[in-house]
Symmetry: C2
Subunit: 345 residues, 2 copies
Amino acid sequence: MAYGRPVTSKTQRSVRPTQKDIAAAAGVSQAAVSMVLNKADTPSVPGPTRARILKLAAELGYRPNHPARSLRSARTMTLACVVPDITNPFYPGLVRGLQTTAAPAGYDVLIYDTDRTQEGERRALNWLRQGRADGVVGTFFHLQTADFATLARERLPVVLLGRQDVSRRLLIDHVFIDNAAAAAALTRLLIRRGHRRIAMILAEFGPGRVRAAGYRSVMREAGLSTDFIVDSTYSEEGGARAMQKLLSRKGPRPTAVFGANDMLAIGVMLAAREAGLAIPGDIAVVGFDDIPTAKLLGLTTARHPEFDLGALAARTLIERLQPGGMKSRSRNLELKFEIIERSSA
Amino acid sequence: MAYGRPVTSKTQRSVRPTQKDIAAAAGVSQAAVSMVLNKADTPSVPGPTRARILKLAAELGYRPNHPARSLRSARTMTLACVVPDITNPFYPGLVRGLQTTAAPAGYDVLIYDTDRTQEGERRALNWLRQGRADGVVGTFFHLQTADFATLARERLPVVLLGRQDVSRRLLIDHVFIDNAAAAAALTRLLIRRGHRRIAMILAEFGPGRVRAAGYRSVMREAGLSTDFIVDSTYSEEGGARAMQKLLSRKGPRPTAVFGANDMLAIGVMLAAREAGLAIPGDIAVVGFDDIPTAKLLGLTTARHPEFDLGALAARTLIERLQPGGMKSRSRNLELKFEIIERSSA
DNA sequence: CTGAAAGCGCTTACAG
DNA sequence: CTGAAAGCGCTTACAG
């Protein structure tokens, strides 16, 4: 079964069959093989020849070489998804939404994890400029919309998650929920339940900032003073640490804690439980996102529709990748959140 | 700042600078640019020229085109990770382990989700043959080691997770824990606690099979009869459904349930709770994997070291990708599990 | 209509 | 040593 491809002496070349192999076996040009394999209809290739090519391709187990195809066509048929931390269940859900929409359109999804660091986000940016993906949807804690100017100038469709872009100067779409409004609603819920000393746990960067704004405005409106514990990371451990710190403070203990995301809030619940506090009796807890674990633990939270967010982002990218898709102006697409009341508050 | 690249008329070419652009600006050949950009030392290029090239590359914001580089060098610097379901927290943990080891070696990790279906796994196989990755680590529920013969023949390093390969006929490495022994240990723990009617919930395919074997052997040894509920999927919903089915059966109810993984066991816990049963008072529950949620819910389970599994798989692949790395025989690498006793049993 | 040539952006083997 | 040519595997614009 040697189809004339010379065994290259030094370099260990792939043993995969190429169009050239099929062409040699079928006695046609390599270009003809490409045509037959890619087009549903090939008037230039006689029926029997077409059949022979397809048969040989199947027999040899031909698979197109992806890098070659990408180089030539300048399309990778891949969408990149940049996430801060894939072990936060919110992001696998987002990825699912992306994939579910991307797959039928022929796009694969590639995940890039920034580890929540600025350094990681900068690396992602450079990585995206290597032509590995046709578009990107990402959540960035440190980079601003303006940091994507180069990508936008290079005509790479970008969808940023989690925030609105008022300036709309760059051709970058945004998909988000109203984080401030959701945080305000959660804060109001706590106040309605009679809480007056409500602390908020968040990290310096990331989605906590805008959620903190919602909390702050409602607290002020109600004449209550805000209480931020900021030096945390968006993880269970971070939430538990912040809670321990809060509990060891002098003065009256807060009666409610707002975790800027569910991971933090779950850490808070664990630390509270370990300190022998009843939830919500001794201390109420609310979170943000509604990851699967929130339901299991009875955590009151705001439903952040990760699957729909992913699906909408994918649809947006795929539209941008259609001919002329980059001509319309940048879009701000808002999805609805929902307050989920459970037993923790 | 036009560096002589002709504006291609029809095709919308990328606006990213190429080595050709740098070469034109620096007055050297494109090959010289490649040398300077890739080698730490270039005796063939005079120092000042080298400096000029590097400066121009930085100024123009040059980033190598990944498809072009992959095509030419036949290396993608990417490892693929094939998972059944990224929303099962076990897999993000695995991915983290992979990335943590792969990144310092210069490899990216690409995730492919098979959705637990045979069809999805077959697609993954074809996808892997497109030269997108230099190696793959995967968990497959339907495909057998023999199904990877083509990949192995094409010299793509493969690490399969979750099972041993006794035949070792193909050059495919395996990384796993002793699933049967861990399941046996969990079953023994339940028997030691006085349980006699122990049911096991699992799905037809996937890791449940070999875990069921461990459960079966211990039950037989103890003179107890096995009780399998098999028509499930490895998800919370699947576990809850199976539990509802079990509870609606006639005859004496089991006093303990063994979920073939934590997702199933958590579903069982939820359904039990909803049916008003106390855990472990009315019914004991054990799982398998020790995902983060298991700790939160107090689920007794077997620790499946997903991070270490990923790290070891990555190390194995990277070794295989070294010169001569494909010469040694296939390996069976076993990691240790651990029984984690919590409140659910 | 039909087919073979050009060329995507790189790396590397190989002439001067 | 020094530099320009060949060529990776494809797609597509463009001659006959």
